[in-house]
């Protein structure tokens, strides 16, 4: 019977569990996701209104809009908060559904790298337009 329960690993569950506990920064990440969610409430409302305001806008109009210090500040806040919130959220999904260690590490690092890169591209663009 191939499927009959049997054990041919002699390592105890305790031996396996030792050293594999919490990394101790889960609470901080959990809290960061929530605080960013709260920050994103007003930022998202502002952004949706801005997108409506800029519907069909010319390049000149967008540049003029971005040159306001408050618009730039809010855009930068929105970009930083959004991409960090996104990275933490996707990290949760990765940890829930990818169980192979090597794949999980690779995808996690790719997730971080892509989120940071996109955020940097957005930040540099906002600064270049606005300054």
């Amino acid at each position: 019977m191939a499927n009959a329960p049997h054990i041919d690993v002699f390592r105890s569950p305790l031996g396996r569990a030792r050293g594999r506990g919490s990394a101790k920064h889960g609470v901080g990440e959990w809290l960061a996701t929530r605080i960013e969610a709260v920050a994103l409430v007003p930022l998202t409302i502002w952004f949706v209104f801005s997108v409506i305001h800029l519907a069909g806008a010319t390049h000149e109009q967008v540049v003029a809009w971005m040159q306001s210090p408050w618009v730039m500040a809010l855009m930068l806040a929105l970009i930083g908060t959004t991409f960090h919130h996104l990275q933490l959220g996707l990290q949760n999904v990765i940890e829930d559904y990818i169980h192979d260690d090597a794949v999980k590490w690779a995808v996690s690092i790719a997730n971080k790298a892509i989120c940071v890169l996109l955020a940097l591209a957005c930040i540099v663009s906002v600064l270049k337009i606005g300054l």
């Binding site: 009959a4 329960p5 049997h6 054990i7 041919d8 690993v9 390592r11 569950p13 396996r16 929530r34 969610a37 709260v38 994103l40 409430v41 998202t44 949706v48 997108v51 409506i52 305001h53 519907a55 069909g56 806008a57 390049h59 000149e60 967008v62 540049v63 971005m66 959004t82 991409f83 996104l86 959220g89 996707l90 999904v93 996109l118 591209a121 957005c122 540099v124 663009s125 906002v126 270049k128 337009i129």
Partner: protein, 143 residues
Amino acid sequence: MKDVRDALMIARNTDGKLVHRPLSPHLQVYRWPISMALSILHRASGMALGIGTLLLTWWLVAAATSPDAFATAQGFIGSPLGILLLFGWSVALIFHFFTGLRHLAWDMGYGFDAPQYDNTGKAVLIATAVTTVVVWVIGLSVW
């Protein structure tokens, strides 16, 4: 059972016989209450918004590059495919926004009672539909 992790799934019963531990049932055995559907959709919309950030990035980078690049991006967003993507993006954003508010209320300990979580779930769907329509009506009227 070559993997130590599988050893955790095997135990002895009271007769001392090796047995597989019972597994908890998963998605396919439950009926779909609204909270479960919304929870899954909250994740799905979050991932969709992740893809949506590519559109935002393209738009900002194009605006920073040149008027021509910006015209290309703006032209794509104004095309039928672009408007479809923008519509999907707005639905995902508004839905994620409202389910996110519901999650924040839960995190503070509110809204766990039986009729309440069904009602807030329905409220999220109604708020999403109404807000999406309002945003698009205003948006298209000024476009």
